[in-house]
Symmetry: C2
Subunit: 322 residues, 2 copies
């Protein structure tokens, strides 16, 4: 056991911050530490919060964290880890002054750990460090882990797959352009929040979301996604949203869906790891002739399909093993 | 040579449509057909057009296609293939009536091929069929291939990597929320278009984009991204935008950057293919015990790191070959 492992497992915040930094720079040592921490994980609820820019998502994450800390709606207070993958999030530094002030009390709370996982000017590759960071937060004892992401694209789907509960945030005012985008994002929603619900059109937004959900062919695993109306800036509806998250958590536990998803996540994760390792092995087995082959493909001397066949023969891994 | 190969290479539109449909449903036969078509490719210019919803991107793609068809700015007319990966694009069916009318003339033009690659309600995985579809359009003789995508996330970056020229579309009115997002997207821009430039603030939007570009640390490969002002609905500035695309094409050819990018693309593509094949081989070599291992990981009986080590031993591919 490395000392860092022990310190993280004991909930040491500085150790946790160090570990996440190492994860971000893909320090190979983290593999060992995360393996050691594995047995200490699985107690956290991982909540993905996603939505287009301008939906007030960050303020909602903020308010939600506060609700979990207070332990509203008859629930006990819980510790909260926040991972911000949204480059426009105040947690990620994209804050206007008001946001920073609003989050100061959270940042000073010992039961809250806030971390931005986005590196500006570098899209993609976020989710690779997200999953290990979630494991680290979980092992350190944080009970609710909130992941804030921007609501479009593949990163989104990857993050959603790692969450137990996905909240999709919408607003009354969004136009038809955005509506069309939602179809895909809605599929991953366990809970819908119509934020800025004090603006005109909140009810009709909620209704059209309901209609879209009803058309949805997604397997719901026995769960009907509730549509919550919130005003993150005043806190209106936020307790109810926090209660909905905990109620989804209960549903996952009772129905066995949570366990199934956990297995599926583990399987996808193992597959990813295997793919990476197999490729590394192919490279070290003297098969690193990729650049040369690419040159030939680019010159149209052979097709990529032919090149791959040739490369696998050279690496000898294409042969049936013994 | 299959008949479909010959028909696509001869520019037969129905054959092309069939091939792309097969690509979308990942018919294994397409591998062979694309390999046969490989020698007929590489003449097309692949242009990625990206931007947030509401920037008028689709209308701009439309206008740009028309400009290439007319052969404006002293250039000869060119054939155009359009791949719409944006679920809100009128090309993808998310059209309001006006859009449909505007694109009718394009749809009837024999020199234009329009295809939506998005399947609604299924985010992610788009780019996997995009690259083969580009190859098919290229082999069928389409000279300008326009790929329309939504401007956030990993799909974006993947598509941009496959394009020769990336146009990032902005509008004067976008708020600070969107500004923060741009940092990453700007890095992939070869050309910036401030669309809806008849709205107030177009000049200052162009100026702030210029300032952001100047702060950018990206290797520009000797190309200074121009910032064009367009009004897609009236066609204002669209000829100039088309000319900028062709000028970037010339730059790529003259500087050798185009060839280098082609090699890099081929290398990434080969790597992808190798990873997939190596994993398939691992599975068929009796190593398909993933589900069982995932179960153990989910139960915290072993860490994923340990599971992968065990799985590679079982699959025998972790051993040094011979």
């Amino acid at each position: 056991m490395s000392t860092l492992t022990e310190r993280v497992a004991a909930g040491d915040r500085r150790a946790l911050a160090q570990l996440i930094s190492r994860i971000e720079r893909e320090d190979p040592e983290t593999q060992k530490i995360l393996a050691e921490l594995h047995a200490s994980t699985s107690r956290a609820s991982v909540v993905g919060i996603t939505g287009a820019p301008g939906t007030g998502k960050s303020t909602l994450v903020n308010a939600l964290a506060r609700a979990f800390r207070k332990g509203t709606a008859g629930e006990r207070p819980r510790t909260v880890g926040i991972l911000a993958l949204d480059p426009s999030s105040p947690f990620s530094g994209g804050a206007i002054l008001g946001d920073r002030i609003r989050m100061r009390d959270l940042a000073l709370d010992e039961g809250v750990f806030i971390r931005s996982m986005a590196s500006r000017g570098c899209l993609g590759g976020l989710s690779r460090s997200t999953f290990p960071a979630v494991r680290a937060l979980d092992a350190a004892g944080f009970e609710m882990i909130l992941i804030e992401t921007v609501g479009v694209g593949q990163d989104e789907v990857d993050v959603a797959r790692q969450a137990d509960t996905v909240i999709v945030v919408e607003t009354p005012g969004l136009g038809d352009d955005i509506q069309a985008l939602k179809a895909g994002v809605l599929e991953i929603a366990d809970i819908l929040a119509v934020n800025k619900a004090d603006q005109p059109g909140a009810d009709s937004a909620a209704e059209s979301l309901r209609a879209m959900l009803d058309r949805n062919e997604r397997t719901l695993d026995g769960w009907q996604p509730p549509i919550m109306q919130t005003v993150a800036t005043t806190g209106k509806g936020v307790e109810e949203l926090a209660a909905a998250v905990l109620s989804h958590r209960d549903h996952l536990a009772r129905s066995g869906v949570g366990e199934r998803r956990e297995r599926e996540r583990a399987e996808r994760d193992l597959e990813e790891r295997l793919r990476a390792r197999l490729f590394e092995h192919w490279q070290t087995a003297g098969g690193n002739r990729l650049a040369e082959a690419a040159e030939k493909v680019a010159r149209r001397e052979c097709s990529p399909e032919e090149a791959v066949r040739a490369l696998l023969d050279e690496g000898r891994l294409d042969k049936k093993p013994r």
